[in-house]
């Protein structure tokens, strides 16, 4: 698990309180609205996301940057690669 700090993001997707499988469906839609190279911050309180999102990034050819743990959620960072 790769941890990061103070990662800047171009957009935030707040999935806190919303459950599986939204964490695998919505990032894709939101990334479509970003330009290549831009970073999406995904907020989630779902533990399964810690494994699911990096795996999803690998499958879909997106760059998974890392995770930061906040007070009430996890923050996962994805850079749009394609």
């Amino acid at each position: 698990m790769k941890f990061v700090e103070n990662q800047k993001a171009d957009d935030t997707l707040d999935l806190v309180c919303r459950m599986c499988p939204l964490h695998l469906l919505e990032p894709g839609d939101r990334l479509n609205c970003l330009k290549k190279g831009q970073v999406l911050e995904v907020l989630t309180d779902y533990d399964g996301a810690l494994e699911d999102i990096p795996n999803w990034c690998e499958k879909c050819g997106q760059d998974f940057i890392g995770i930061e743990e906040d007070d009430d959620c996890y923050k996962l960072y994805i850079r749009k690669a394609k």
């Binding site: 707040d14 806190v16 309180c17 919303r18 459950m19 939204l22 919505e26 007070d71 009430d72």
Partner: protein, 390 residues
Amino acid sequence: MKTVYMDHAAATPVPKQVIDAMLPYFDEHFGNPSTVYDMGSKVKHVIDEQRAKVAELIGAKAEEIVFTSSGAEANNLAVKGAALANRKKGNHIIISAIEHHSVLNSARFLERNDFEVTFLQVDEHGLVDPERLAHAIRPETILVSIMHANNEIGTIEPIPELSAICREREVIFHTDAVATVGNLPVDVNKLNVDLLSLSGPSLGAPKGIGALYFKRNLRLMPLIHGGIQESGRRAGTENVPAIVGLGTAAELAAEQLTHKVEKVQGLRNRLVQGVQDRIEQVIHTGHPVKRLPGHASFCIEAIEGESLIFMLSQKGIYANTGSACASKALKTSPVLVAIGIPPGFVQGSVVFTLSESNTVEEVDYVLEQLPLVVDRLRSLSPVWETRTAA
């Protein structure tokens, strides 16, 4: 016998246009929107189109709308969903003392689950004082819920002033707009709210559908967990025909709103003036001016509401009441108690809610029959006899 229906807040006929729009989604386009093949995805697309129509009616964006089964469910999702999702920021909620039971009981449920609730009192017209709200907000306050208008007394609350206070103090503001969407112009930006509930039956959509507007990025704890419907905010296979009904009704409501407001206001004013001229000892409840355009509510001394409603229905006139006996719980209307209606009047509640289908002739028929019914009931009443003998 003539039928004069004046209880449109309880139920109103669904226009043919809405029914026609809904029908194909029962047998022709019956696909489940969550399926991957085109029969499903086409229906999903239709749902999104309806979402956009509902959003347009209230000045919102399509992605800010969640479909629910009713206005009551939308209220539950707003109050419980926002409170539970923001629990870490605080545990104090403020609602008015005259909210609909779906807001009141959601707040009471939260009270039993580690939240504190303040029930803001209202004035004799049912208005919430913005200063009183400002005074009640504490550092732990996370949510305020004040209805846009009250269906029992018709009063419209000063939402922009109330929400501005909450915006300044960074408190989430919800309004139950079940009584106003479709009856008044409603714009979530002008009202400056974070959450707004609406109900299908109030705008000519079928029963069993409602919606919640939520400001983008507002966290909500879903109440119904499950699959991916409504982006995980409200699971369950979508009621496609009802959603189509709501979208179509929303479109019609937007087109007809100005004309509707003008017409029902005129009829309502005629009714109110006529009642006040013909019946003594009657209180026109709610604010005289800041009220729903087609809404006329009265408390009549020395008679009981259920009897009044039944007697009127025997003359073909359909209205509603907020008196103790009529409500199966046998409690005096908390709204009428909250606005200080005196004991001799509080049981004699009658509420007329008009629509553009009502006519001047119908209003005049009510004005002819209502005094006769009131006189009949007063002749049976020991309380009236005592009062007039005094």
